[in-house]
Amino acid sequence: MGSSFLSVERLTQRYSDGKGGEFTVFENASFGIYKGEFVCILGHSGCGKSTIMNILAGLAEPTAGVVKMDGIAVSGPSLDRGVVFQNYSLLPWLSALKNVTFGVAARFPDWTKSQVIEHSTEFLAKVGLTGDAIHRKPSQLSGGMRQRVSIARAFANEPKLLLLDEPFGALDALTRGTIQDELTKVWSGTDQTVFMITHDIDEAILLADRIQLMTNGPLARVAESVEITIPRPRDRTAIVEHPNYYAIRNHLVQFLGNRSAKLAGRDTAGETQSPETVRIETTEAADDHDEGPHLRAVQA
C-alpha cells in the first residue's frame, strides 16, 4: 500500500460508554486508496463508516492512528478534501449559485468575481442545473436539485479527494439514478479520487472501482476490498448483463448478510487490520448463483 494516494494507517476509534468503560468502534483499521480511484464503502449501520468519513474529512479526530494523503498526515479540515454531506448542507440563505461561489471563492481567493461566477455556473451546468434554477434558494429546490448543488459545490473546488457521505440516501430511486449518472459524468472528466459511503449495493457496483466491505460494529474492521471487474463506461441497464455483475453482487450480499456479523467483534490483539483483496472474474453466464469456484482471494 506504499504507493497509495491516501493511506489509512492503524486507525482506532473509541468512545467512552458512559459507565467508565470504553466502546471500540474499530481498531487498527488500515487501507489505501489509489489516485483517481472511485472507492465505495459498504457496511451496516453503526460500523463506523461515517466516523471514518469524518476522520478523513478532518472533522473528527481518531483515538489513534493516522490518515496520510500524498504521504502527509491529515490534520483538520482542508480544501483539498471536499465533502458532500448526506443532508446536502447548503446554506439556506444563499441561492444555489451563491452556495457554489462561496466555496469557489474560498478555494481560489485570487480569482475575480466574474471568474468565480463563470466557474461555478459551469459546474452547476455539469450536474444539469441551468437558467433560472441556479438563482433559487435551496428551499425552493427539490431534494434532487439540492444534492446536485451540493455535488457541484464539491467538484467546483477541485479537491484532491472527494468524500461523499451517503449522498443519495434521501432521494427516490429515479432521481438517484439520474444523479448517479451525472456524478459519473463529472468524475470521469477529472483525475479526482472519490470515497463514498453507501447502503445500496447496486449503486456501489455501478459507481465504484473498488468496494471496501466493513464488518458490523463494535470492533468493526474493513474486511474485504472487492474489485469491480466491469469495464467503464458502465450503463445501469447494460451492466446487469455483464457476467461478473451477479457474481460480484452475490458476493456482496453474502458478505453483508452473513459474514459481516460473523467476522465482527474480534479483538485485533494489536494486529494491523488490512482488508483482503477479492477479485471476482468470471466469463460464464450469470445464472450460476454459486460464485464460490470463481472466487479468488488474494492477500494484499
Binding site: 478532518g58 480544501l79 471536499g82 465533502v83 454531506f85 448542507s89 440563505w93 462561496f102 474560498a106 473546488n157
Partner: protein
C-alpha cells in the same frame, strides 16, 4: 458561545434581567451624577437582556452542518462568524432586537418622567400637572403609535434576514 461561558454568565443575566428600570435609577444617578447619562444607562441596562439572550441562543443553535461546511472550506474564525454564523443566527438575533426596542421605548418614557427636562415622558407628566388631559391622552396615543412604528421597522428587518430551511 461555549457552554462554560454560558453557565458562568447565565446566573448574572437571570438576576439582572428582572430588575425594574425605576430601581436602577437612584443608583445610576448616584454613580454617574448626570441625569441624561443616567437615563441612557437605565434604558441600556433594561433593554439589553432579550437581545443578549437571543443572540446567545441563536448562535448556539446554528446547525453543526453549516459550521462543518465552513470548516471544510477552511474559512477563518472571523469569516465563519460573518458568512455562516451571523446569517444563520440573524432571525433569532433580530427577534431579540425587536423585543429590546419595545422594552427600550417603555423605559424611555418612564425614565423621562423621573429625570425630567425633556422628552415625551416629561411632557405627559407636565401636562398632568397642568391638568391638560387632552394633551395627556394625545401623548399616550403618540407613544403607542411610535412604539408600533419601531416594532414594524424591526418586523421588516426580520423579514429581510429570514430564510426557509
Amino acid at each position: 458561545m461555549s457552554s462554560i461561558a454560558y453557565k458562568a454568565l447565565n446566573p448574572f443575566i437571570q438576576v439582572l434581567r428582572p430588575i425594574s428600570p425605576l430601581a436602577w435609577m437612584p443608583l445610576a444617578l448616584f454613580v454617574i451624577q448626570d441625569s441624561e447619562a443616567s437615563a441612557i444607562f437605565v434604558i441600556f441596562i433594561c433593554s439589553i437582556w432579550p437581545m443578549l439572550i437571543n443572540t446567545a441562543f441563536g448562535v448556539a443553535g446554528v446547525r453543526e452542518d453549516w459550521v462543518n461546511v465552513a470548516r471544510t472550506h477552511e474559512l477563518s474564525a472571523l469569516k465563519t462568524a460573518f458568512t455562516v454564523i451571523l446569517p444563520a443566527a440573524a432571525p433569532t438575533i433580530v427577534t431579540g432586537m425587536r423585543i429590546s426596542i419595545g422594552i427600550a421605548w417603555l423605559v424611555i418614557v418612564a425614565a423621562e418622567m423621573l429625570v425630567g427636562g425633556t422628552g415625551i415622558g416629561y411632557y405627559v407628566w407636565n401636562e398632568w400637572n397642568n391638568l391638560d388631559l387632552t394633551s395627556v391622552i394625545f401623548s399616550i396615543l403618540m407613544i403607542g403609535v411610535v412604539g408600533m412604528l419601531l416594532d414594524s421597522l424591526f418586523g421588516l428587518l426580520q423579514r429581510a434576514v429570514a430564510y426557509a430551511e
